[in-house]
Amino acid sequence: MIGFLLDGLIAAGLVGLAYQAVTSRSLFRGIIHFVVFGLTMALAWARVGAPDLAMAEAAIGAGLTGALMLVAYRRLVEDRRDAPVDPGPAKSRLALPIAIGSGLLVGVIGLSALFSDVEPGQAGQAVLADLQQVDLGNPITGVLLLYRGIDTLLEVAVLLTAFLAARALAGSESGTGSPTTQGPETPMVGALLAVVIPLTVLVSVHLLRAGSYEPGGAFQAGAVLAGAGVLLILSGRIAAAETAGLLVRMGLLAGLVSFILIGLTPLLHGGPLLALPGLWAVYFIETAMMVSIAITLVLLFAGGGGLKRGKHG
């Protein structure tokens, strides 16, 4: 009963926050509502028995998306003070009927899918059966790396493509609106970083290692690690640079390249494409993916092609 009430509260919160995000009177409030929406979404995932998704949503969906939105907002505000930032909502007589109609449609579809007699998914059953033979406790990591590896490989490519496309846009004026704080530094920031950065690295390594037997994995770990990077940028320890140094470039590409190369090796002795040659390959690829994800997200946040030592660095 209490569980049901809690779920009701979360569901109502989701709806309310979503509505606030799209209609609130200032864009800044909208972003804050959206971030809180993401965190509530993480709660919802935890409630429906999907802790992996809860972690991913909290770290990636709410945390980093929120950070990216805030820094984009700041660039908007700082770039052209003459132009109005937010024109406010448009008047549309059709908006409400269309919204209600599509909501109803999705509701009917969703409820009938939920209450139709579905057999347990064949793919899911096959995964659980096959995982018996592999020493990998977390079936989601199994699906992502062993059975649907090409999805994961291409997904890392999607993240890389988003960065490359954003970098291609940045053009020559990438210096504007850097997210670094202005003004002198307080000693407390240094103290915070001295504690939080090692702790964040520890947590991400733990998440990475845990991903093989309990909730966690490369994406969650990479997002947490990127959080540390965001903190370093905000405190002026590192800053955006025009181009990436060799180390940053290697880190950026490590995940995709190692996945492809390890995936291609079985072909040399007649094996199937992307068949990973053992669990060590899973761990190796996950580690490389963690680094790549973290660096890509940090670069997207910094808004440049690379990283350099910041003014407080």
Partner: protein, 104 residues
Amino acid sequence: MTPTDLITLSLLLAGCGFYLAGTVGLLRFPDVFCRLHALTKADNLGLFLVCSGLAVHSGDWRIVSLLLLIWLVGLLAATVSAHLIARHAHEHEADAPEEENELR
């Protein structure tokens, strides 16, 4: 209901009470400094009470140390961010003394 449950429950309820007080303070107090005052103090204590309630409930030393860590990190983050917000507000006092401190 065992005594442990009772202790857990009362600690959690007390923690929630402090959170509530902190939130009311955040919403009702007049300026940034008062709000921060309400928020950091009450919420840090609330977090401590909730964590200790859960610690009593779990009874496993690994969980207890994790909860302690959570509280310490929360404490640190709250302290530093409150300090930074207060400093920002202090420096920009002339700009926006009363309105919400939006990033404009």
